[in-house]
């Protein structure tokens, strides 16, 4: 499921086996989507799965820009939000005119909305890549978010536009009232979109996108216009973001200006980058993790967004390949059979790193709850935010953990180098 990063020699050698595992992965994914709600059937988990599904499409669409084409966008939520608004208006129009259009077709309308906006502004935006594109995307994002509050008749002002998903014509007896039916609708679109986006990476367009990301000048020399390629990639990303927005509109039966805002754009960037942009499955992992954390942490701590920021900063500084990058780094070692030599040093490094993480958490929670006076519950041990013992514990964990972790991670790097050398000798690592 990875993208062009695999060398071709390895690919031809295991072609038949990899074809089997390739289709196997997609079939397993489809089966998992079908079976999941049967295992976890509570209302809460159904809602979580629905949100995660939408987040996956959104993060994957973002990765068409960041991972495939090298365009860093700070305003991807614009297409998502506009898709959501168009979907809501479409649902209301369909319901009031009694058009024979079933609900599962509505996300497509959202996708077209996202794409239409991308077509409209994309040509100017994608003139240049890099920092300039990042700034323009930010500016356009702010422009649309602020305009949405002015154009009240379309965007419904602060309260947004509401709809009723059950008012559309039922399909095979499904009214899409219960959450389980909405879940399957979302799961269907997740599968379709993921396959489509994966297929997109294998087309000549997908390949030339990678080339534009890596070296636009050479792309120009072989006769392609990087501007056109970026424009096309931007349109596709807008289309799939619009689908995600349309699904959100169906899921919540409302579209409001928060969908378009900077927070939403930031979250999708976090998802894609934490998951890892170099591999197709990276943003999927990131979307699952970020949505799960978002849902899980909000009940535990009031400063969950700070933890997001810290995780993101750590990923940027220490593992810019994201989670997928970390996982895939180990593949040659597994094949060469030298992973075992690295694991002991990992286990040693895990202890001080865990202590450091606990120290950071304790410090943050102490500051956050100092005035409120709530007790902190860390691994079942209660701490009082106002007690000096808590401060000392936090400081010891923080400083001690940091100093020891630094030494142990140096050991990890050494063990890693030895294992990589062996793997290289055995021909599994370039």
């Amino acid at each position: 499921m990875s993208n062009a990063a695999i060398p071709t020699s390895a690919a031809t050698k295991e072609e038949s086996a990899s074809a089997l595992s390739f289709y196997g992965i997609w079939l397993i994914a489809a089966a998992a989507l079908v079976v999941l709600p049967l295992i976890f059937s509570s209302g809460g988990s159904l809602t979580s799965f629905s949100l995660i599904g939408i987040a996956i499409i959104f993060a994957l669409s973002y990765n068409i820009l960041l991972g495939q084409t090298g365009l860093l966008s700070f305003g991807h939520a614009v297409q998502y939000g506009l898709g959501g608004f168009l979907a809501v208006h479409a649902m209301n129009a369909v319901a009031s005119h009694n058009w024979p259009i079933p609900l599962p077709a509505i996300p497509l309308v959202g996708g077209i909305g996202g794409m239409a906006f991308a077509v409209l502004v994309g040509w100017v935006m994608t003139k240049r890549a890099g920092t300039v594109f990042a700034m323009i995307s930010l500016g356009i994002g702010e422009l649309v978010a602020s305009s949405s509050l002015i154009l009240r008749s379309v965007f419904g002002g602060e309260s947004g536009v509401t709809t009723d998903r059950t008012s559309l014509m039922p399909l095979f007896g499904w009214t899409f009232g219960p959450q389980i039916q909405v879940y399957y609708l979302i799961a269907f679109w997740v599968m379709i979109s993921a396959i489509a986006m994966y297929a997109l990476t294998r087309t000549p367009l997908g390949r030339i996108c990678n080339a534009v990301r890596d070296n636009p000048e050479r792309v120009e020399f072989i006769g392609y216009d990087p501007h056109v390629v970026r424009y096309l990639a931007y349109m596709f990303a807008g289309f799939f973001a619009g689908i995600a927005g349309g699904l959100t509109a169906i899921n919540f039966e409302i579209a409001n200006s928060a969908y378009l805002g900077a927070t939403q754009s930031g979250l999708v960037l976090f998802s894609a980058f934490i998951g890892g942009t170099a591999y197709f499955f990276g943003p999927i992992l990131g979307a699952i993790l970020v949505t799960y954390l978002q849902l899980g942490l909000t009940s535990v701590t009031s400063v969950w967004q700070l933890y997001f920021g810290i995780i993101f900063i750590c990923i940027v500084m220490f593992a810019p390949g994201g989670i997928a990058g970390i996982l895939m780094k180990h593949r040659p070692l597994i094949r060469a059979g030298t992973l075992g030599t690295v694991i002991p040093s990992y286990l040693v490094a895990a202890i001080p790193t865990l202590a450091l993480a606990l120290g950071i958490i304790l410090t943050i929670e102490t500051v956050a709850r100092f005035s409120g006076g709530d007790a902190i519950n860390l691994l079942g041990i209660p701490f009082a935010a106002t007690a000096p013992t808590t401060w000392v514990t936090a400081a010891v964990l923080l400083v001690g953990g940091f100093l020891v972790a630094r030494i142990t991670w140096r050991r990890v790097a050494e063990a890693w180098d030895r294992a990589a050398t062996v793997a290289r000798d055995r021909g599994y690592l370039a």
Binding site: R128, T131, M135, E142, L143, I313, V316
Partner: protein
């Protein structure tokens, strides 16, 4: 009308000079290091909150000096331990690091000081009307802000044009690698420039805090406008940043002060349609569209002059 023009011009120049305090640092940092510092507006916010806290503890005047220095130290730390280590992963990683920092700083600030505005007041020594124009009392504190930003502007100009450090910085604006080849400790210059840039942002925060609202979302509100300023002026051009700062400061201030709408100008021609986007546009006042004017300008500039007003570099 004359009153409105005088007052709005004063306020606009003031806002423009504040923007320039921020955009000058951002531009120099961008030109030298190729990093667009997303956290620059966060340093401005840190300055305001440090200023607020220090004013409570030791008074406004010491805070005016110490708070920017503290922010400068934070900035140097970010450069030394964050950006320098991330540099090997490329510019996107650096940009993302500052993005994450901006996010984290906002959360930290709202964790410590809360999400509602803090009570950061104008110091008593400056809390009087400086002069009266027509019927409006113009506060002395705003004149003080104007004086501080003009003094800093002149100091910056002299440093850049007349000193050795300024010469190196100027050279690094256009030929960063050549400066390194000439044997200057580029790492230290970067750290210093980053520190000074952050300190300037911090200073802007300290003096703007009492006059504007000191709140944990002030960075998120100002940050995008700041980027508009430097893209509009031309990435990497200090004079461009200066012109753009003043222009956007004036436009914003005048737009907020004006209350006209298409409906009030062409009142008798009202098309009297039902609620539609057209009537929204017909009835919207200039004050209401003030927040989106900078972004409209950005889009226009990018269509007609993609390198910005005075920019030369295609980045």
């Amino acid at each position: 009308m004359a009153e409105l023009i005088v007052i709005s011009t004063l306020n606009g120049v003031l806002f423009g000079m504040l923007l320039f305090l921020l955009s000058s640092g951002l531009t120099v940092i961008f030109s030298m290091m190729g990093v667009l510092n997303f956290a620059h507006a966060s340093f401005y916010m840190l300055g305001a909150f440090f200023g607020f806290q220090l004013t409570r503890w030791i008074g406004f005047w010491p805070a005016l000096v110490i708070a920017p220095l503290l922010v400068g130290v934070v900035g140097m730390g970010v450069e030394r331990y964050g950006l320098r280590n991330t540099h090997k992963h490329g510019h996107v990683a650096e940009l993302l690091l500052t993005f994450g920092l901006a996010f984290a700083i906002e959360e930290i600030v709202s964790m410590i000081w809360g999400k509602s505005p803090v009570d950061y007041r104008v110091p008593a020594a400056l809390d009087f009307p400086a002069f009266t124009v027509f019927s409006t009392n113009y506060p002395a504190y705003k004149i003080f802000m104007l004086v501080v930003s003009v003094v800093i502007f002149i100091a910056l100009l002299v440093t850049l044009k007349r000193t050795r450090v300024g010469l190196i910085v100027q050279a690094a604006l256009t030929h960063p690698s050549m400066v390194g080849h000439l044997g200057h400790n580029v790492g230290r210059v970067f750290m210093l420039v980053f520190g000074v840039g952050s300190a300037l942002a911090g200073l802007a925060g300290v003096i703007a805090g009492p006059s504007l609202v000191t709140q944990s979302d002030m960075a998120a509100l100002l940050g995008p406008i700041l980027f508009v300023v430097i893209v509009f002026g031309g990435l990497g051009s200090l004079p461009g940043a200066f012109i753009a700062s003043l222009l956007i400061g004036l436009i914003q201030t005048f737009a907020v002060a004006l209350n006209g709408s298409l409906a009030s100008v062409f009142g008798p021609l009202d098309p009297s349609l039902g609620p539609s986007p057209l009537t929204d546009i017909w009835n919207v006042t200039i004050a209401q569209i003030a927040p989106i004017l900078p972004y409209l300008l950005l889009v226009l500039v990018l269509i007609f002059r993609p390198m910005g007003l005075l920019g030369t570099r295609e980045s």
